[in-house]
């Protein structure tokens, strides 16, 4: 579930608060997103790819937080990992034209 909001990277744009399907975020008086309802997070990773500055990190465990910290995420280069894999960039969609899934579908039968 969502565990890290990087105050350094965040530009206070409100996109994560708006697009989270589970309504997990509030924002504090400075506009920084606050993880207000962490247990509602559905671990879908979509806030990460909509974030224009790769300021969010969703850990892989869906049942509870892992305790990972911002320095860990930085050190392992995990900020923006899903966006890079998809071909999304700075919150903008991209990469579907290069999706090789058709090869997998042919082989799966």
């Amino acid at each position: 579930m969502i565990e890290v909001v990087s105050a350094d990277r965040c530009i206070r744009c409100d996109i994560c608060e708006r697009i989270c399907p589970a309504f997990v975020f509030d924002r504090d008086e400075t506009g920084l997103p606050v993880i207000a309802r962490q247990d509602d997070c559905q671990t879908c990773f979509l806030c990460e790819i909509y974030c224009p500055t790769d300021a969010l990190y969703v850990a892989e465990q869906a049942d509870g937080p892992t305790g990972i910290t911002e320095p860990d995420v930085l050190e392992r280069d995990l900020f923006g990992a899903y966006a890079r894999a998809l071909g999304w960039n700075r919150g903008r969609a991209g990469g579907t034209r290069n999706d090789p899934t058709r090869h997998i579908r042919v082989a799966q039968v």
């Binding site: 708006r18 589970a22 671990t43 892989e60 995990l78 894999a85 034209r97 090789p100 899934t101 579908r105």
Partner: protein, 542 residues
């Protein structure tokens, strides 16, 4: 600086009038909204989450059942029909294939960035969830549809004969709002029964509860024994990479089937053995049957599936990792609101159902429509329901809406005599009656009877408790909807004393020819399950 627009609080008691209200925010909702708008209707789309990220499709990468027109289509339907446990309908399959194909071509026209085949033609049989849903939202906006994000509907509005609106709340502050509409499309998705699957948080069977409160029936609720593999503890119930998996016991030794062969292919022959092994203890997997080219395609084509591995710091092609079978309820299972007309009408005037909110038996019978079939069904049924709702709204223009009343019951009104219910605890209890492998992968009369007692108790406590207020109404109604969905599931599964499709009875392991018909469930305080054949005969006699 924080933008000001979102600082505004939705006002209490907001009233919106429209022709068609679409409830939900996934692909079926989007297509229904586009369809109704194309038919000339004013459309409001009210989503519990955010239309574009809500639901099971947005975080996924889904194939479509993409069958081009021509000679091959009838054969494709026939081939697929053979796998539907005898309960699909060839006419619906054909028209769904046709409508889905037509709408995929609309995506091409609108400029959706499909990948190309080697010969330069577009490959339209796959949709990457985040991109597809973001694109669909943009089209919906362009069509002039009013989108209400984070505005969950709590109940329908209607009178004795028809549905003409809905009431809900704004998540930002709990403010109530109402939409008066000529017709309503329920595209609220399936029910994940509080299992933490990808995109499943909002999938609490809300539409099933709304439809039942308006007097509609459900069908196929016993075909809910559907599970998919995921890395242990994760949300990633995506089976495709497990096509190339080998499975291992807790001791690291490879699992073997009855013939002594290694258990492989977790989305095919291996699934049942993995399920059996999981009853006894932890199971591990390794995607060791994927050649280097396939490894590359999987990583680049299914990037969501690889997020857990990357974050855990393991290589799934070379390392063993623990797996779960995640329960998928009616998301990849098949049950839902019973459709009674070609335009996805529910039998209640003004009320339509689309996508996973509707039963998908017409196109997939008693097996899972997970992936391709459900994606195409969402496109086709959304389109039909949108047109049906727009036509109905047009016919009803100018009617007086003053006699409308709210149709919601449990958790909203009544009650007061009993103590308040701990909703989180109730949610866990219902989940634990449905999601475990020995409750829904395999059923017996004993487990079903025990579940029925537990669920009846929760239902009755929810009804005796004081009505929820403010923002808490959302969770109270979600728990009510999941509890009701569980009761319908248990009732249908109890009546079907055979194993068929994704309904497996340990006490009735074989298929029974005389039970080759659908099961209809209805009712709230008193749940009834009847076989469709008998219901039709009774109707004809009556």
């Amino acid at each position: 600086m924080a933008s000001r627009r979102k600082e505004q609080s939705p006002e209490e008691g907001r009233l919106i009038e429209t022709d068609v209200l679409v409830v939900g925010g996934g692909p079926a909702a989007g297509w229904a909204a586009l369809s109704a708008a194309e038919a000339g209707a004013r459309v409001v789309l009210a989503d519990k989450g955010y239309h574009g990220t809500s639901g099971a499709t947005a975080p996924s990468n889904t194939g479509t059942w993409c069958v081009p027109p021509g000679e091959g289509r009838a054969a494709s339907v026939e081939q697929r029909f053979k796998r539907t446990a005898g309960l699909a309908d060839r006419r619906w399959m054909l028209r769904a294939a046709d409508q889905a194909y037509e709408n995929l071509q609309k995506l091409v026209e609108w400029g959706y960035p499909f990948p190309s085949e080697e010969d330069g033609s577009l490959y339209i049989a796959n949709l990457r969830g985040p991109d597809y849903m973001r694109f669909l939202r943009q089209r919906v906006q362009k069509a002039g549809v009013t989108i209400l994000d984070h505005h969950p509907i709590l109940e329908l509005l209607g009178d004795d004969n028809h549905v003409a609106g809905a009431a809900g709340l704004a998540r930002r502050n709990g403010a109530s709002f109402q939409v008066l509409a000529g017709a309503v499309v329920l595209a609220t998705g399936g029910c994940a029964f509080f299992e933490r699957i990808l995109g499943g948080t909002g999938l609490t069977g809300d539409g099933y509860l709304f439809a039942a409160e308006a007097g509609a029936s459900l069908s196929g609720m016993e075909f809910t024994g559907k599970y998919t593999l995921a890395p242990h503890g994760s949300s990633l119930n995506k089976g495709l990479p497990f096509r190339w998996a080998t499975f291992y016991g807790a001791n690291g030794e490879v699992l073997r089937n009855a013939r002594g062969e290694p258990v492989t292919n977790g989305i095919g022959g291996g699934e049942r053995q993995v399920a059996e092994a999981l009853l006894a203890g932890p199971v591990h997997a390794r995607l060791d049957l994927a050649e280097p080219a396939m490894q590359d395609w999987l990583r680049r084509g299914q990037p969501n599936c690889f997020q857990p591995y990357e974050r855990m710091g393991i290589n799934p092609f070379t390392d063993l990792f623990r797996v779960d079978l995640k329960y998928e309820g009616t998301v990849r299972g098949t049950g839902g609101i019973r459709i009674v007309s070609s335009d996805c009408g529910t039998g209640i005037a003004g009320l339509y159902a689309a996508g996973d909110a509707a039963s998908r038996e017409n196109v997939t019978g008693g097996i899972s429509g997970g992936g391709a079939i459900n994606a195409s069904w969402a496109i086709a049924s959304g389109w039909w329901a949108g047109h049906g709702a727009a036509r109905h709204a047009h016919r009803r223009q100018g009617r007086d809406g003053s006699r409308l009343r709210p149709l919601g019951t449990t958790a909203l009104r009544g009650g007061t005599a009993g103590p308040a219910v701990d909703l989180a605890a109730a949610a866990r209890t219902v989940h634990d009656e449905i999601a475990p492998l020995d409750k829904s992968y395999w059923r017996t009369s004993a487990t079903l009877e025990a579940s029925e007692r537990t669920l009846e108790d929760i239902w009755s406590r929810l009804n005796r408790a004081p009505p929820a207020t403010g923002i808490e109404r959302l969770q109270a109604r979600e728990v009510a909807a999941v509890t009701a969905s569980a009761r319908w599931t248990v009732a249908a599964a109890t009546l079907r004393t055979e194993s068929r499709g994704v309904h497996r009875r340990r006490d009735f392991p074989g298929e029974s020819e005389v039970q080759a018909s659908r099961i209809i469930v209805s009712g709230l305080d008193r749940v009834t399950a009847v076989r469709e054949t008998l219901a039709l005969e009774t109707a004809q006699e009556g």
